[in-house]
Symmetry: D2
């Protein structure tokens, strides 16, 4: 009954197998390994983007911070939502990598709206040397509250950004979960919708620790390589990053795992709804925010269920008080664990 | 015949086995995994340092840059030798992590001497607001030229540093190779010799990508954790870093592998010496700098041998011109590959 | 009719006289001049703080950014209001000087409230490595909207900060204007109210370009000196900064000038009120936000009045539409200019 | 008898007069003052560079660090000599402003040679992601040891730089002293010799605190403005920077003062030579490095002469031991003070 995060699950056997297979003899270091060529091709094909530049790093924060740093000047501000990972969960890594750039946080409980984005941009008039200058827009898909932007919603945001000539970054730590939720293609969810660079997540979706940064604008390639090295994120034994990503892309494993995670979440949502839980956000993919009485949380806790109490605390006198929970399903969580979880309601 | 680097060899099966073993079910992320407790204990025991704080990162540059940043203020200068990895091979990562601190490079062909270190420190008088302030001293063991400081040599350097109240960092990307070369204990080569923090390498010595940072002064612990997260080097699926390091420490595998690498290098040195090669540096561990005529380089190259020409170039008219080579033996290189290499002389 | 800013007025003759007087022969550079000793004494006396450390820089942004950098670690966040100068008007200088720290902006139309400050701090739980860590609180007095915190209001904010052990910075670019508005002592408005470091402004109040940074906690002294030098803000011919500040402090000129500016503003407020203008913020000191019909703005503009239209634009069809204005009175603006301004209503 | 530095002398009366003249009524802030237009024209005319962009800051370190930051990427290295001000006397300001770029220091007792520069550049091979990348070359004219590059020497250095497509910065804190020493034009000593950006000093040569940054490549203009603001170096009451520079340029006062300083130094050199002093560097402009016996230093010290003992110390037993001295003549030092100084030999 582990629902604390999708970063706590095991690596898929197909990926483990690729690691073992890669572990033969010597291989050129620092991304010159042959498997990386395979990865580059696979991602270009998946994104229908033959010119795209593809790089691997080991953490999602590295992917986000390095990608943004290629677009945000130190005197600019990055536009993002309150709830974004880059704002709340990266301990100033984006600011660090972007040379002390600012984040302009658009207050929202989940997604930013095009209107709120426009207002935030307008507050930074062009050519005013005193304020932070306008920088890139960063969108999170799946959001940190578990909802998924429709293609129209993404396009509405990128249209605002492009109206000011601002580049757009997509934090896709859960890219695959969003993709299978929308049933669209990677191209449709990215460059066809106005996205310039994407953090394409693997770690939360069954890899060991690998994320791709995909630049649809290849002019940033060498700068990214230098920033990655300077940030100490260039792996000498790079083949083991490549092997993970190769295993992930092979036979669409990445989508298969995301589908499993989303299906598990849907099963859990259905059970929670039947049990009378209230939903705090729309559960579009593999992450659920819901609330139910303290006494049930207590039972779950006693039974060993792992998840975060989102607001409030287990301690408290009123057994009927509603407490929020964040539940995340990874690819490996099975129906039995979910049914066991639901049995305590 | 792969001698280009020890960062190009395979992972030892014992470490692969630990990764597979770790890949069961869910585990708490971000270093809260149970295997990390085992790693911490193993390293504290190995270093006879029960109070030491131990952290894992995935690259040697991250280990060095983060460790130094905990000791170097942005207005200070780090003292190191010309040939140090932090000066030549990290694309300004130490400067980046230390908030734009300077590196004062002590000109040398290999190790810095205590006298040269003292002169460099004295050039930065205490209390002079105009110049860079005195910061930590960084020593590399094994050096980037393949030689190993004796314990006396380390102590002579740390004694100079301590005379100015400066902390000492040891870049131990090849820590194990130096240790078995000296036949001393980890404590003797570090805190007993005046070292405050060590980058304890795993990647070059049979791991996939893991380095430990060991602080003998535990007061830096929380700062390191924040710097690691801010640098995007905190792994969510941390158990896979822990598992590598656990497998590495288990049954002294780390020393066994280093001994194999050093033995291979000694075999290669003996063969080169017999063949009349000249040595550019003292080959104390698993890295060799030697020179021989161009025509033999050409034969080796044609036969598929991989290594770096250190100075000069394969192109050239004179078949007898001596060209330098850097040869590195990793744990996995066997006598057959070495003998095959030597057969071309 | 110049009301665009108090940074556009002339230097007071008493200060010019001190500059001329200082311009005799040679003087030790970099703050070792004898006039600086006089300045230090004068400010310590004025603040009833014999242990305080006092430094001079030439711009308000330098004072704020350097002072905050001594208290904010790169992985922390500085708490401030939306309207603060450090957020809106310093082009990321605080972030730059604090090594890429974050600003957590408390949404407000003017001052932050203690409750809003507490909520913002609580959003950054202690010991959570993922988010920005809690850093200093920065208060602006006079606010950028022209209102003045009462001593109780300052104490309410510093009490919240101190409850979390957070240091407090006061941006006093218009310190004197606030002080005479409140009729209190410098000590009461700063360290007695819980402020740790203050940017004590001179430039906007009749100096040429000088601000003092006053640390009530002298342990930050040497760090500040290094940061000032590293930021290129240490003047070689420092005596000319000292002379300005000496002239400013002499015979309480600083308070005299502030009183003149505030009196001018009060005269202008009375006239605007009589003319039916609406006030957007409480005009407590020398800065006024008010609105009146476009046609009157047009008349003022044609007559050569200088001030910023705060929202809206002179262009527009409706002559009766209310447009906001920001009007600032400096020490030198006289009643004739104000009466001339008012004559257009 | 003040020879400690040319940053300790008074401001020329013509410049004081311009400050007084500028102190009338209100003026637009932040560089929009009318005097700045005059300054820009005067400098463009002096440099025969109608397209040049001209900015003012208050310190030489700000001029150098901001100018270099426009050309040096954070992953690059700036090439300079050991003795350069940016290396020895700016407390890591260049590194700070350039986002943690490195300085590659070319070992020399004074000027770098073209060969040494070429070797240093060659050590950073193009396209090697591991090392710092090649960045701008910075030349100091007058050097910090008092010698002046000939035009041929400058061109020889810039030719090396241009051969690698590297931009060239000239630290001209004593630009005027070099210019009158060479008897050439500003254009000949800068853009005609291959210099891209120059720190054009005023402070050491009779101003209060002002330096111009002159970009012969105007594409850097807006970036410089943003960097200047972000560095807290944009003056609100900018007219007082402009007035200094306007007074400095007027009727070639800058060259007149430099000629006075150089003439004074020549007089002092002649006297020292006659007195048997040995010269440590070629005294080409207004700065002298010479040595003489301790007992004479002692007499000078007792008589109140101010200058730096360059190596060695007044304390010591041997009255005949030679100690070095650094002597700097500013515009205001007169023959009487020099003759008084020489009378102690």
């Amino acid at each position: 009954m582990f629902f604390a995060s999708d970063n706590a699950g095991p690596v898929h056997p197909q990926i483990m197998a690729r690691l073992t297979q890669a572990n033969e003899g010597h291989a050129m270091p620092y991304g010159k390994d042959a498997i990386m060529d395979e990865v580059r091709d696979a991602i270009r094909t998946a994104f229908e983007a033959p010119q795209a530049e593809v790089y691997l790093v080991a953490t999602g924060t590295a992917a986000n911070a390095l990608a943004l740093a290629c677009y945000a000047k130190p005197w600019q501000t990055i536009f993002c939502s309150t709830t974004s990972h880059i704002n709340e969960d990266e301990c100033n890594a984006p600011e660090f990598y972007a040379g002390a750039a600012k984040l302009t946080v658009i207050e929202t409980d989940d997604m930013m709206t095009p209107d709120a984005l426009r207002r935030a941009i307008e507050k930074h008039p062009d050519g005013n040397v005193h304020g932070a200058q306008r920088g890139p827009v960063s969108i999170t898909q799946v959001t940190e509250r578990g909802s998924v932007h429709t293609l129209d919603e993404i396009r509405a945001l990128t249209t605002v950004a492009k109206g000011y000539d601002l580049p757009v970054h997509l934090d896709g730590a859960r890219f695959a979960n969003a993709l299978v939720a929308l049933g669209c293609t990677p191209a449709e969810m990215t460059w066809k919708a106005g996205v310039d660079v994407v953090s394409f997540g693997g770690t939360k979706n069954g890899c060991m620790g690998v994320e791709a940064v995909v630049f649809f604008d290849p002019t940033k390639a060498w700068e990214f390589e230098l920033r990655r090295k300077r940030g100490a994120h260039l792996f000498s034994k790079h083949r083991y990053l490549s092997a993970q990503m190769a295993g992930y892309m092979q036979d669409d494993l990445w989508m298969t795992m995301a589908q499993q995670a989303n299906d598990s979440a849907a099963h859990l949502v259905a059970g929670l709804r039947a049990a009378g839980a209230a939903f705090l956000h729309q559960p579009d993919a593999n992450m659920i925010f819901a609330s139910w009485p303290r006494r049930i949380h207590q039972k779950l806790h006693d039974a060993g269920a792992k998840y975060y109490i989102w607001n409030g605390s287990l301690e408290g006198d009123d057994p009927e008080e509603l407490l929020g929970a964040r539940l995340v399903c990874d690819w490996s969580i099975g129906k039995p664990a979910i049914d066991q979880f639901l049995s305590h309601f």
